[in-house]
Amino acid sequence: MRTIRILSILLVVSMILPLASCGPKGGGTIKIGVIAPMTGDVKTFGESTKNGVQMAINEWNAKGGINGKTLEMVLGDDKNDPAEATNAATKLIKQDKVKFIIGSVSSKCSIPISVIANDNKVVMISGTSTNPKVTVADGKRKEYVFRACFIDPPQGSAMAKFALETLKIKKAAVFYDNGNDYVKGLAEFFKAAFEKGGGTVTVYEAYSKDDTDFSALLTKVMADPPDMLYIPDYYNMVNLIAKQARDKGFKGILAGGDGWDSSDLDVKATEGGYFTNHYSPDDPRPEVQNWVKAYKEKYGSVPDALATLGYDAANLLLNAIKTAGTEDTAKVKDAMQATKGFKTVSGEISFDQDGNPTNKDIAILQIKGGKQVHVTTIKP
């Protein structure tokens, strides 16, 4: 009898508690949702993005917030898995009542999130999702969705152009993950541009994300050794393939996309390799140098592109909220679309009709002596 009474009291309390926490919260905050891969195969991407957004939010709060309200970050972990990304987005929108989302990092997660955000009229901006499908689906623009980075067609062609014109490479092989929109897109655009410029793609092979043994594919590549092996995947996969490629006697150049930008990249195996990226910390512009200095002071390392674009995306969003003067997402979306020449670390940003920044430069970096060195910047 007694246990039943205790149980029923517990039950009643547990029903009241969530109600209590639903009460008015002072009304003094604007919640900014952030979705990023905090764990899993690309966790350094998530950590950097979060740091970048946090820096922007801290700076705006130090200036008194927006419209007298302070900004608060609500973090969701997508584990770089589209299903988890959907869960995180639904939780942020339905449970935390977030009206603005920054994220996610990889395109395969941002694409499902963008559908949910657009349907719920939540303004979303991704820092680093480069696949065209993030903002557009079947030729139709998702009006509430933006990004702060360039898209994959120019990124893939930039590396192809660099390989053909600067490195004078005529033969390349390409590996890509069949189940990853970002990797697949980059591989396609690289191949198209490389072949159009007169180069030959000797081997163009797919793998799946759980594959570990590349000996068969690499033996195929080595039957007619190319000068370049293009692997536009994330760093952990690049580590896996690069080491096996060296083991199989591949002496040429390894190359890839912005997924290489991580402190966990195996610099020994990728030494001498090139990758396309969103910015270079060596850029002398004051925006870049101030940012690098501030980030170093807080986190003790040079910001990678993920941190930089997290920071840029947050600034773009917060600027649009401020310009709109309200948290009404329809008005914020219009203010964002109207952004003209907004100065960010990775360049001056205006949006085209697809929600993509126009005129973004593409930096080409080289792994040299275990460090990233800026080689050149390509204007698309």
Binding site: T39, G40, D41, V42, K43, K79, N178, E205, A206, Y207, S208, D210, T212, D213, S215, A216, L217, T219, K220, M222, A223, N236, M237, N239, L240, K243, Q244, R246, D247, K248, G249, D264, D266
Partner: protein, 306 residues
């Protein structure tokens, strides 16, 4: 021609690693008629123990000669993995499987799946191994030789040598020691073995431990060859090794070894022709063999004991 030989060589190297896992499946099945689905996860634990050992010893110099140090570190990591995996598998047997020894087989099978999921999810907690992908450190220098148009890397040699030595040791234990005799007797007829004065519990524990030691060594070898580890890495190699054991005739040691080599070669050949159908082909080989020879290549058709 050398292209085909090179691909065969790749397949055999992969097959050796599968063999180390497959033997554990087949031994355990032979003795307690249980498919130990947690075996692939013991393999994963082995890879992680190797990683922690390598990381802890990364600053230590033993002899001052770089390549010899690397080799010794690698062997130490493997030894640590073997010891820990043995202890782990013996504990799993004592806690999870022993109470169910006389229960219906399906109960033990479901428990094995439960243990497997437990190992995967428990070890992916932040304070255990963590949920992240880790790039495996390689203590060995990257060296490869070209012999008659074939390219052989130091890793392939190492995998072949270490796996062969372990398999010879296993063969010796099973066929030429008292414990091996007890294992074979228990596998043949547990009750009679007990009547003959064999400590059946000890023998079963020993079998689990032996299988786990091979899986642990396999984990370190696999992670060194394919340097990316995470807590779900054991699922696919585990499934493939299990398939190899069934292909060779589950319960048969030579069968598991040959089955693993066939799986490795089939996978690599398929991959070299069309990369995304590799796994499909490996399992297709299994289906064909089972249709033609239901007990597997080396298995004996067995009458269900009542």
């Amino acid at each position: 021609m050398s292209y085909v030989l090179q691909q065969l060589l790749n397949g055999i190297a992969l097959g050796f690693v599968y063999a180390l896992i497959a033997l554990g499946y087949t031994m355990v099945y032979g003795i307690v008629r249980l498919i130990n689905f947690a075996h692939g996860d013991v393999f994963m634990v082995g890879a992680f123990i190797g990683y922690f050992t390598l990381r802890a010893l990364s600053k230590v110099t033993l002899t001052g000669i770089a390549w010899l140090d690397g080799l010794l570190l690698f062997l130490l990591a493997m030894l640590a993995a073997m010891v820990v995996c043995t202890a782990l598998n013996v504990a799993i047997e004592r806690i999870a499987y022993k109470p169910l020894r006389n229960a219906p087989r399906i109960a033990a099978l479901i428990t094995a799946i439960g243990v497997s999921l437990f190992l995967e999810y428990f070890s992916s907690l932040k304070f255990v191994f963590g949920p992240n992908y880790i790039t495996y450190p390689t203590p060995l220098p990257m060296v490869n030789w070209e012999i008659g148009g074939l390219r052989i890397s130091i890793l392939q040699v190492l995998i072949a040598v270490v796996a062969t030595l372990l398999l010879l040791a296993l063969n010796y234990i099973v066929h030429y020691t008292k414990m091996g005799k007890a294992m074979r007797a228990t596998a043949f007829d547990r009750d009679t073995a007990r009547l003959m004065g064999i400590d059946v519990d000890l023998t079963i524990s020993f079998t689990f431990g032996l299988g786990a030691a091979l899986a642990g060594a396999g984990g370190v070898l696999y992670a060194t060859a394919y340097p990316r580890i995470h807590t779900f890495m054991g699922i696919i190699p585990g499934l493939k090794a299990f398939t190899a054991a069934v292909l060779g005739g589950i319960g048969s040691l030579p069968g598991a070894f040959v089955g693993a080599l066939i799986m490795g070669v089939a996978e690599v050949i398929a991959k070299s022709i069309y990369s995304t159908i590799a796994d499909g082909v490996a399992f297709l080989v299994l289906i064909i063999v089972l249709l033609v020879k239901p007990a597997g290549l080396f298995g004996r058709a067995e009458v269900e004991k009542v």
